[in-house]
């Protein structure tokens, strides 16, 4: 079935563009203010984690939306808004510069903070 499949792709693409734009603008916006630029990416990722937890729990608890909402907002928007590659590249950079404290904070903070943010989103959506 070619038609529904191509429609699904449209939903993913429609979510991806504003997601990538917002990430680009937010990271650029915070770059001069924050002492190290990787905290902009860190913030973006944590917000996305909270939002995806909320989205998934709203979908399961209220039957809020069909698969397409998840494609648009989850796979498209939040998937593009959050990033793994930039985070790892910045982590690699801190390790190479031997900024050990910064690397541990960025790595541990992102993983633990991300898990907490997902849990908070899931809890809020199902409350």
């Amino acid at each position: 079935m070619a038609a529904p499949a191509s429609n699904d792709a449209l939903f993913v693409a429609l979510g991806a563009v504003p997601g990538a734009w917002l990430r680009f603008r937010v990271v650029n916006h915070f770059e001069p203010m924050l002492p190290r630029k990787h905290w902009g990416t860190f913030g973006v990722n944590l917000i996305a984690c909270f939002a995806i937890g909320l989205l998934v729990s709203l979908q399961t608890s209220c039957g809020l939306a069909a698969d397409r909402t998840l494609l648009l907002l989850g796979t498209g928007f939040l998937g593009s808004f959050s990033t793994f590659s930039t985070w790892i590249t910045e982590l690699h950079d801190t390790i190479q510069r031997r900024q050990r404290r910064e690397a541990v904070l960025l790595c541990g903070g992102s993983v633990l903070g991300g898990l907490l943010a997902v849990a908070a989103g899931l809890a809020l959506g199902s409350s």
């Binding site: 563009v17 997601g19 998937g79 593009s80 930039t86 590249t89």
Partner: protein, 144 residues
Amino acid sequence: MAPPTTESPPSLRREARDLLLVAGGAIPGALLRWQLEDLGKGLVGGHAGLIESDLVANLLGTFLLGVIAGLPAPRPRLMLLAGIGFCGSLTTFSSWMLQISLALRRGRPDKALAVVLISLLAGLVAVGVGLVVGRRLGHRRLRR
């Protein structure tokens, strides 16, 4: 449309160009990630497939970003299109975290920890290899 006599300020035009470049990379990046997720589901089945497929997209994007970042001469437009747009959208942090969180909720901390460690270590290796490849590519191009 603006009348041809009043030129839009260059900063605005540049901003529009930047956004177009990011969008031009973001669409194929997100579509590829979505397709890789579906492929993973078909191969392994259920959540296990999702976890692994996110890993594929994340590692591929991380390697490519390493290549771009490794190029000796900075390429701002390539960075916007392929780096921030394509690699940024191909890779995802939120779905990755969601899968880890769901594995924890299903009482599989071993699985969650494995996904975290494998993704982290393989990601760091992917960046490192990408940076080396990028530097070599750049040198070869400079020599020509």
